[in-house]
């Protein structure tokens, strides 16, 4: 019993030390990699749960909201219009955008049944980290994916996914700007469209 206590105590000191050696960086390579790994584990948990699709998309949306910086992604996808939108308009748009991403990419994640994703590395790029993963999908050659992770929101979150060169942020920017111009810049109409899209 005393032994147990001592180990616990030493463990506490160890934890304290570890904490004090890494003060300057809120995020490092291994944490960025771990974030991606953890979010993918949750995604696979949903895929393997056998939930009905609609329920699955809701779960993906929740994972996206937990691990991605939805605010910056939604803002970046909206482009210059984000600066003109009122806070209430933006909040409604962001909520709709989040659901749209959950459905749109949720449909794609179903192709990942029986596959696995491995984190293969992480490196600093500009002000953030690029985490590389390889997806092994059935009957396909392995697929490279890259996740861009930043702590600029105050927490470690990813804000972009690049699959074999195809950039989610860039393609959502093109898509949302096309949707907005179809509605001649009307934010409320865009938000309503996003609620149905994906």
């Amino acid at each position: 019993m005393p032994n147990e206590t001592r180990r616990g105590f030493l463990g506490l000191i160890g934890a304290g030390l570890a904490f004090s050696v890494t003060p300057a960086y809120a995020l490092n390579e291994s944490q960025a990699g771990a974030l991606v790994q953890k979010s993918m584990d949750e995604v696979y948990g949903v895929i393997n749960s056998g939930q009905p699709p609609a329920q699955m998309y809701k779960s993906f949306e929740a994972i996206f909201a937990r691990y991605a910086d939805v605010d910056i992604i939604a803002r970046s996808a909206l482009g210059p219009a984000a600066r003109q939108a009122s806070p209430a308009e933006f909040a409604a748009y962001k909520q709709a955008f989040q659901g749209y991403i959950g459905r749109k990419y949720g449909k794609r994640f179903r192709e990942f049944i029986g596959s696995k994703i491995e984190v293969t590395g992480a490196r600093p790029v500009k002000s953030f980290y690029a985490v590389t993963t390889v997806a092994y999908l059935k009957g396909r050659s392995p697929m490279e994916m890259e996740w861009h992770v930043s702590d600029k929101s105050g927490k470690g979150r990813y804000f972009n996914i690049i699959i074999e060169g195809v950039n989610m942020l860039a393609s959502e920017r093109a898509e949302v700007s096309a949707m907005l111009s179809q509605r001649k810049g009307d934010m409320a109409a865009l938000t309503a469209d996003l609620q149905k899209a994906g």
């Binding site: 500009k126 861009h148 930043s150 060169g165 195809v166 950039n167 942020l169 093109a174």
Partner: protein
């Protein structure tokens, strides 16, 4: 052969006059209105012909049908006939190793792989396909990408890649071995392998062509990004926090 070299030299010289520079968004599309018309045609063709024809071939994860195996065999046969042309392009890019491997691959699959219907080179000899084409050769030689194009039936391209496709047909070493009919059969088999891809990536294609607000712009962006990734010509990373 001499004629082919002269032809290629003319083509490359002509390409230095490629139109325009990419804009701030990395897209150079001076022919947008013509491209959009071709896109509408290609999209109609896909929804009325290609998609209905290929949906039955789809392998999916659940029980691939006999059709999907046959399709893969025919696709393999076509891809195998394209290997010598790829070996030539590897050489033209100054990469002897993939050229040699591609040649071995062709020899293994043409014999043990029953004229290319099977792919034992990848499965048993660790010689996976190393894809390349003359468009990539031009990129290696420093020829600029040129304007974006959407070609009827063939889909997205750039001026540089369109020239590359034509040159690939001309410099194909299989001309020396096959007569024209045989060569065209090979080309047809390659088209079948493309149809197989349409079936395999069906959901992705549907999402881009039929579910996006501007399917032309999405196709253009996604194709260009993927092609530039293949050629190692990707642009800068986006940093939304810095904007």
């Amino acid at each position: 052969m001499k004629r082919k070299i002269i032809f290629t030299a003319i083509v490359v010289a002509g390409l230095s006059g490629c139109s325009g520079q990419p804009g701030a968004d990395g897209i150079n599309d001076p022919y947008e209105s013509a491209n959009r018309q071709v896109h509408a045609f290609n999209r109609g063709l896909d929804s009325n012909v290609v998609k209905p024809l290929t949906s039955g071939m789809s392998s999916g994860d659940d029980k691939p049908g006999i059709g999907s195996y046959a399709l893969q065999g025919i696709g393999n046969f076509g891809s195998n006939l394209a290997e010598p042309g790829k070996a030539v392009n590897h050489l033209l890019q100054g990469k002897p190793e993939p050229a040699v491997k591609t040649t071995f691959r062709f020899m293994v699959n043409s014999t043990l792989g029953l004229a290319g219907f099977l792919d034992p080179a990848a499965a048993d000899f660790a010689l996976p396909e190393q894809d390349t084409d003359f468009g990539q050769t031009l990129a290696v030689w420093g020829v600029p990408e040129g304007a974006y194009q959407e070609l009827p039936l063939l889909g997205p391209s750039t001026e540089r890649d369109t020239v590359g496709r034509v040159v690939d047909l001309v410099i194909d070493p299989m001309h020396a071995v096959l007569n024209l009919d045989e060569w065209l059969i090979g080309l047809g088999a390659r088209a079948v392998s493309k149809a197989g891809e349409r079936a395999r990536f069906g959901d992705s294609v549907d999402s881009i062509l039929y579910e996006s607000a501007d399917s032309y712009a999405q196709t253009r962006l996604i194709w260009l990004q993927h092609r530039r990734h293949e050629l190692g010509e990707e642009g800068d990373e986006i940093d939304p926090y810095a904007e």
